[in-house]
């Protein structure tokens, strides 16, 4: 029954003959391990086609959805991380396999007549695969891919005569955006794979036409492809798959950095490791000579490779070809080492990588914490995140006078001598107020030392009246501090404020009745005679936002304001920026431990 059906099918398709030809191709000298590389490459390509097609089903190409859909694949979809990891690491394996295949073909002399055309299709296939690598790197639209791809596009742009037009065509406009993504996706998932399939069919057809190039001397009698060579090929493919799976599982899929942001510096920009040598190479071509390293040298090398079959006709030429490619590989290896070594000792780069990792983690957390990503995309999450934006806003707007734990907010140590306003780390916390109301520290640069209030009433009061306090007065001061600090409702002090609720109530009482404070400060009831900052809601979100908006408002320093700019009133910062800055100063941002959602 089955037999007659197969017979029927064979009469109509001739599949038996094709299968026979495919399986019983003669392998001169029998199966050998050195012949496996072509098959491993084909296998890797099949993995890429399969995983790529499934990833494509879940990918959305636009500046607001590319990163987001990849994030969703990686973190939310069933087996998404696995498929993506398989695609990512198989791509890297392919680069290695391409080199091995090329070396085997060269050493065995398989590129020489009559196999020139086959060799050329191989080189074109190599270039097409590198094209896949370049286009695929951008698609997740993360900082890494974005900045690396911009470099590539700009290199295209320096090509003589046509460069700028070609760059515009590649990018789909004058700058990177959604058209870049739709174009890269079409090339990556459609055009290049189709060309590869066509060329691969030709490549394999030509291989069959001319037969395998046996490495002499033959050690065994000839044998058919099946099953010995097929077995070796499958074992080699299995080894490739095992290596790829190791990376996929070890790194739980592929890396996804923070979403691309043209306004955000990215000092960790590097190409994928297999292009690192080119990246390093470009460092040696100053100014206008970049074109030599970026275009002329690579083009000359590729042109020479096309000429190899002719050079290889002579015995010396063949040796030269092998030596040439070995030298290329050694050079590339050396350059890769130099690039990696330089980065290893580059502290700035190391910090940038850490910051990039932290930003990637943060945006992932924010997306989960928010229960999804807003329609504006993941960048909106980061733009409204105090932990992400606070330090940057502080460094850019506050750190010329203020400090944050002795730094500019971003972690860079600043000179204390240039500190002309208070250190705001822990502002309005009990600890911070303790330092303010301490005769020993109130006039230090961390508080009023750098300001015109250095010799003002507050400093005088603290130094004169809070010195050597009796035990009962000390206890009162402690309660006042607790009360003022509680006005801020700092997230970090929530538990403390709750535990000391009684002391806080007492503290308020003392503060209201203690003539010394309310002499100058307003507290809880309107006080037209107040000349110092309002203590009602001191350090709260509302207080800080209003203060940052205009510190010269009568509620705060009035006309006595030192040099603090009215950031909101003068339009230096937007309401959103002031809100984010206030949240950051108050330590008020979404924290991983607080998220209850699974």
């Amino acid at each position: 029954m089955i037999k007659s059906f197969l017979h029927w099918l064979d009469q109509r398709t001739g599949y038996k003959k094709i299968t026979h030809e495919a399986l019983y191709e003669n392998v001169p000298g029998g199966a050998r391990w050195r012949y496996v590389w072509g098959s491993t490459l084909t296998f890797a390509l099949v993995i890429q086609f399969v995983t790529g097609a499934f990833l494509w089903l879940a990918y959305s190409a636009s500046t607001q959805t590319s990163w987001e859909s990849v994030y969703y694949i990686q973190n939310n979809m069933f087996l998404g991380w696995f498929v993506r990891g398989l695609h990512h690491y198989t791509a890297q394996a392919m680069v290695v396999l391409l080199v091995l295949h090329l070396m085997q073909v060269l050493i065995d002399g398989a590129y020489k007549a009559p196999r020139e055309v086959n060799f050329w299709t191989g080189i074109i296939l190599l270039l097409l695969v590198l094209g896949l690598a370049l286009t695929g790197y951008l698609l997740p639209w993360d900082q890494k891919g974005y900045w690396a791809s911009r470099v590539v596009a700009n290199i295209v742009g320096i090509t003589p005569v046509v460069g700028q037009d070609v760059q515009k065509l590649v990018v789909g406009g004058s700058d990177f955006g959604t058209p870049t993504l739709t174009r890269f996706l079409a090339f990556h998932a459609g055009v290049l794979p189709a060309l590869i399939v066509i060329l691969l069919v030709g490549h394999i057809y030509l291989l069959r036409r001319h037969g395998l190039t046996a490495k002499k001397p033959l050690k065994k009698p000839d044998a058919p492809f099946w099953p010995d060579q097929v077995l070796m090929d499958s074992v080699a493919c299995l080894a490739v798959l095992a290596a790829v799976l190791f990376f996929v599982i070890h790194y739980h899929g592929a890396e996804l950095g923070a979403p691309a942001n043209s306004a955000e510096p990215y000092d960790a920009a590097r190409p994928e490791w297999y292009f690192l040598f080119l990246y390093q190479f470009l460092k040696y071509f100053p100014g206008e000579t970049e074109i030599i390293g970026a275009i002329i040298v690579p083009v000359v090398i590729v042109v020479f490779m096309f000429a190899m079959p002719f050079v290889g006709r002579w015995k010396l030429g063949h040796r030269f070809n092998i030596g040439f490619v070995c030298a290329l590989l050694a050079g590339a290896g050396m350059l890769t080492y130099l690039a990696a070594n330089e980065d290893r000792h580059n502290e700035r780069y190391q910090i940038a990588v850490q910051q990039a990792d932290a930003a990637a983690e943060r945006v992932k957390f924010l997306a989960q914490n928010n229960g999804g990503i807003p329609p504006d995309g993941a960048l909106a999450l980061l733009a409204n995140d105090p932990l992400t934006q606070g330090p940057k806003l502080f460094a850019a707007n506050c750190a010329s006078c203020h400090r944050y734990g002795g730094t500019d907010g971003l972690g860079n140590k600043l000179d204390d001598a240039k500190e002309t306003a208070s250190d705001l780390k822990g502002f309005a916390s009990r600890e911070w107020l303790n330092g303010l109301l301490n005769p020993a520290t109130v006039a230090s640069v961390h508080y009023f030392g750098g300001t015109k209030f250095k010799d003002g009433d507050m400093v005088g009061f603290v130094q004169d009246h809070l010195k050597d306090l009796a035990a009962d007065k000390q206890a009162e001061l402690k309660k006042i501090i607790a009360a003022v600090s509680a006005e801020a409702q700092l997230p970090a002090q929530q538990a403390l404020d709750k535990a000391d609720a009684g002391a806080i109530v007492e503290g308020r009482q003392i503060l209201r009745n203690d003539i010394a404070c309310v002499d100058c400060h307003q507290f809880q009831q309107p006080d037209k005679t107040a000349v110092a900052p309002d203590l009602t809601g001191y350090g709260s979100k509302e207080w800080l936002v209003t203060y940052l908006n205009d510190p010269a408002n009568p509620r705060f320093y009035g006309k006595d304001n030192d040099r603090m700019p009215s950031f909101g009133k003068d339009g230096r910062l937007s309401a959103q920026e002031i809100s984010v800055l206030a949240d950051w100063l108050r330590g008020d941002w979404a924290k991983p431990s607080e998220s209850a959602s699974p």
Binding site: F54, M77, G371
Partner: protein, 195 residues
Amino acid sequence: MPHHSKPKEPDRREFLKKACCVAIGGALGAVPVAAGVGLYLDPLLRKATNSKEGLNVRVTTLDNLPADGTPRQFKVLASQVDAWMKTPETPIGAVYLVRTTDAQKPVRAFNVACPHAGCFVAYVAEIPNYSPETPGYFCPCHNSSFKLDGQIARAGSPAPRGLDELECFVQNENEVWVRYQKFQAGTAEKVPLGA
């Protein structure tokens, strides 16, 4: 058991090799294909974001409904999570609201989706090819027609059931709320799918 002569050593080795080829080859193909198919099946494994009970949504106020019982079409706005994207307030569907004279149930609500294949039914002042002349709903796709109370009008309408009526209530004096639900199209039974 009858004692068979052992196959010759080389034959057995050949068979083993071939078996290994098939086994390894199968594994090689299975890994990417199984992983990819798993990824594709994700929607089946995902829990529905909305319960089948639907979502209570404030749609409009009573004064926006014509007193004469003419249906009016309204968007249903709600927060939506679509794959990764969370949209705060966005249209998730539409309803027809009809004012009634019944004090217990002053408004009736119908999902605009035709229960035949899900097209958006239109309100028409006169149902085509139907007598007596009467206003109702008409589906532009396959010509199903429904009376104002949602029942199938013209016999031979392809719709397997009348328009899907939604639970509707008035609260805070004049706010019209609808428990918005979608239903499986193409079945005689009204099978809820969620909001």
